[in-house]
């Protein structure tokens, strides 16, 4: 991979320059050579003095937008090692398998790579900073470097990358210890903290304005008791078959500036995808193998219930995943408000059987989650069948549009929580 430099200032033609060496001196530079003419070189300033770099390591670099992070934040990124999953017994007491968190990398703003006088790095994180810089200068980050407009012999990092972006640097040697490691599976948890994946620097990145994000990011700041910040990431397990769409969503669609209607439907696809999986699971669990025991009319009732989207969305939120009250409570309130905007006579009790279904009485119902599920389905139906109701009163139009936008922001995060905590009923370790 390489960086693109114009053949001359203002030209639309570019030469490719590849990283060849690191030059140490009064100042330190990354030297890149023209792939067509190796004698032609450019230099990119590495502003730090070189103390010691832990070697040899390789890293991967992913770029994100985040409104919460500041230049002095260096967040240690961790994963949880599950171990062999077996409890042990010592002196007659069952010992739970200890879950350890181990470091895989760091998160910091690119701006931190430009100011040694305000450096937030310590001796451990500095090596990651150096390797990240090298990766960026090689054009090997998750998104392509920008091409500067001027032709000159010395450049700065800021001419290739927006330095307000955050950089997630992961050490390959650490993640090699994790079987089937795929960083994409952790993007959903990262979004909950406000990290929006950047795939194209020239694209304006849409920022999720949900209040939940700032409170979630605060939990990172609350780890600073020992002078360091930590973030332990959860993996989206992807037990369902359709894995490609959530990845496209998180890496591309979520960052796009689009109408709230488009955003809602792209997010609701996650529900559609997961309730299909739930359908298959529930049929397997409730019906297959029980057909001899169930009477025809009961079997028919079960199948009819499972066929309704509302019932399965309810199962999704109540049983198949876990969501935060700090997110779902305000979302439920907003959805209820939206429902009354669309239909002023709307009351909770007037929800149709399509939208809220009672389910097996041997399991405890979560009233709020049930209400949330019903309201999500209601909004979906309203946007599909009754979208015009948003514009019934021109004076309220901007209020309603703002409300839907807020709802979609929260729903985006709910989708992430669902994806991260989703598990088949038989695999869940308690509700």
């Amino acid at each position: 991979m390489s960086l693109l430099i114009p053949v001359e200032t203002g030209s639309e033609q570019y030469d490719e320059f590849r990283f060849t060496e690191f030059e140490c001196g009064d100042q330190n530079y990354f030297i890149l050579s023209n792939t067509n003419d190796p004698a032609e070189k450019i230099r990119i300033l590495f502003p730090f003095g070189l103390t010691s770099i832990a070697a040899p390591y390789t890293v991967s670099v992913n770029l994100f937008q985040n409104q919460q992070i500041t230049q002095s934040d260096v967040i240690e990124l961790k994963l949880t090692s599950i171990g062999n999953g077996k409890d042990s017994e010592i002196n007659g007491i069952v010992q739970k398998e200890k879950v350890k968190a181990f470091r895989i990398g760091y998160i910091f703003m690119l701006n931190a790579l430009l100011e040694p006088t305000n450096s937030p790095f310590n001796e451990h994180s500095f090596s990651f900073a150096y390797y990240a810089f090298e990766k960026l200068m090689s054009g090997e980050a998750s998104c392509a470097a920008k091409a500067p407009k001027e032709k000159k012999d010395e450049y700065s990092l800021s001419e290739f990358y927006d330095v307000e972006l955050s950089c997630v640097v992961i050490c390959d040697q650490n993640t090699d210890k994790v079987s089937d490691f795929n960083f994409d599976h952790y993007l959903f948890d990262l979004l909950l903290y406000g990290f929006t994946f950047v795939s194209n620097q020239y694209q304006k990145i849409r920022v999720n304005a949900s209040d939940f994000i700032s409170s979630k990011f605060q939990t990172i700041r609350d780890t600073s008791a020992v002078g360091r910040l930590f973030l332990t990431l959860r993996k989206a397990p992807f037990t369902h078959t359709e894995i490609s769409y959530p990845i496209i969503l998180i890496k591309s669609l979520i960052a796009e500036e689009s109408h709230f209607l488009t955003r809602f439907h792209t997010l609701y696809q996650i529900f559609e995808m997961l309730i299909d999986d739930i359908l298959k699971t529930e049929i397997r669990l409730q019906i297959c193998g029980n057909t001899e025991d169930l009477q025809g009319h009961k079997l028919k009732a079960k199948v009819s219930k499972l066929a309704t989207d509302g019932f399965r969305v309810n199962l999704l939120i109540n049983k198949y995943s876990k969501t935060s009250d700090g997110l779902t409570t305000p979302l439920t309130e907003k959805l209820y408000k939206m429902a009354t905007h669309i239909n002023p006579l709307y009351r909770e009790t007037s929800q149709t059987s399509e939208e809220t279904e009672e389910f097996e009485s041997d399991e405890e119902n979560d009233t709020q989650s049930t209400q949330l599920a019903g309201l999500i389905v209601k909004l979906r139906n309203d946007l599909v069948h009754n979208y015009r109701a948003l514009y019934s009163n021109e004076q309220e139009r901007s209020t309603k549009e703002s409300l839907v936008t807020e709802i979609v922001d929260d729903l985006e995060l709910v989708c992430c929580e669902i994806l991260v905590t989703f598990g088949r009923k038989s695999e869940r370790k308690g509700v």
Partner: protein, 405 residues
């Protein structure tokens, strides 16, 4: 003087930059001896790498005796040129002396010079003596500017470099003022990164780069220093240089005024130094190491210098000149708090900025700029009141720059 191939061809006055333009002819061999010295001993004429194809074409041209456009040089030593009448300049000996003593700058023609050097070295290595002699005896022309003051040199470099690989503003700035590195300004000395010695803890010695940053901010009217690699393609900057040309002492005045401020503020704060116990109070709780451990350390850094420079430009727009400020500096006072208390507040504010900012350096510079503007703008109620100026600057920085947490 030893025998030289130098021949003076003509002298023309340049009314635009107020210098004499002397056209000479010289052998390549003699030119390269001077060029070796200039490029090897001048920190600011940095090595460049040219495209192989262009290098090859030029090399062939030289071997075949092709004539090249004149190299542009300037006589460096300003001391002997203070009384120069550029319209009537006719001193051939001065030119010869400049060549003999290697007292020259290459303004344009560095690429051609490096190709000539490289070809000479190649022919020497291959012992191709006939070709070498032929090459070194070839005549080239050079334009030598005499009496070009520093700003004129910069102007010529900018205009001659237009369209080619450009130099950064900072590079040009360093070339303009490199003499001060050795001569200093009225007892004020400068230390560069290359000098293997730290800057001493006094108001007489400064980091050269930091001072240039500050002066650059003054020229641009912006506290955020241009990226070191940002090219000079700004017509407005050329105009700034034009304005400055009318006052050739502006750099000196800038440095002297800042030193005067430093001396005053150190005295008024009773040479305040950081004490950890003072910052255990809730009011002065800081999360990281203090920005500076003394008044001198706080105000001697690049951030304060660039803030000072940008503020000066702003104040000039309000009708204040550097000479006005020279009188005001000694009148700095406080309204309520004492100076030491204000220094502790300042350190605390800088800690908040470090913690909350997405661009720490920029926001620190903004903070300092606001301090100086608030301190020296007589239209503000913080005029000459250090405590009010610091608080006002922090309020502005917090409201406009820091992310909401």
């Amino acid at each position: 003087m030893s025998e030289t191939s130098l021949k003076l061809l003509s002298i023309l006055p340049d009314y635009r930059i107020k210098a004499a333009n002397v056209m000479i002819e010289i052998n390549i061999g003699e030119y390269l001896k001077i060029a070796d010295f200039i490029t090897d001993n001048n920190d600011y004429q940095r090595k460049i790498v040219i495209k192989s194809k262009i290098k090859e074409i030029l090399r062939e041209d030289f071997l075949q005796g092709c004539s090249i456009p004149p190299i542009v040089l300037a006589v460096k030593n300003q001391h002997e040129l203070l009384d120069l009448n550029f319209e009537k300049f006719n001193n051939e000996d001065l030119i010869r002396k400049a060549f003999q003593e290697n007292d020259l700058l290459i303004i344009d023609g560095l690429q051609r010079t490096y190709v000539m050097r490289s070809l000479r070295d190649e022919l020497q290595a291959k012992k191709e003596d006939d070709k070498l002699v032929y090459f070194l005896n070839q005549r080239i022309r050079a334009e030598v500017y005499v009496g070009l003051n520093r700003l004129g040199i910069l102007y010529r470099m900018i205009t001659l470099n237009t369209g080619q690989n450009t130099m950064s503003t900072r590079h040009l700035m360093e070339m303009l003022y490199f003499d001060y590195k050795t001569t200093g300004i009225e007892g004020i000395t400068f230390v560069t990164d290359k000098d293997d010695a730290p800057v001493r803890n006094n108001t007489n010695e400064f980091n050269f780069k930091d001072v240039l940053d500050g002066f650059n901010s003054y020229l641009e009217g912006k506290e955020n220093i241009a990226e070191r690699t940002e090219i000079l393609d700004n017509i407005k900057t050329l105009k700034n240089l034009d304005d400055l040309n009318k006052d050739i002492n502006s750099f000196q005045n800038f440095v002297k005024l800042f030193k005067q401020f430093l001396d005053q503020i150190i005295q008024k704060t009773e040479d305040w130094h950081f004490e950890a116990d003072d910052f255990k109070m809730t009011e002065f709780n800081i999360k990281a190491q203090p920005y500076g451990k003394s008044t001198l350390e706080v105000f001697k850094r690049s951030q304060a210098l660039t803030g000072f420079g940008a503020a000066l430009k702003f104040l000039e727009g309000r009708g204040f000149s550097i000479s006005h400020l020279t009188d005001l500096v000694s009148q700095i006072n406080v309204e309520h708090d004492d100076f030491q208390y204000v220094m502790k507040s300042l350190i605390t504010h800088l800690d908040v900025i470090r913690d909350k900012s997405k661009k720490i350096g920029n926001d620190q510079r903004f903070f300092f700029k606001e301090i100086f503007e608030s301190l020296f703008d007589k239209n503000q109620d913080s005029f000459l009141l250090f405590d009010k100026a610091v608080q006002k600057a922090f309020d502005e920085t917090r409201d406009y720059k820091l992310s909401k947490q």
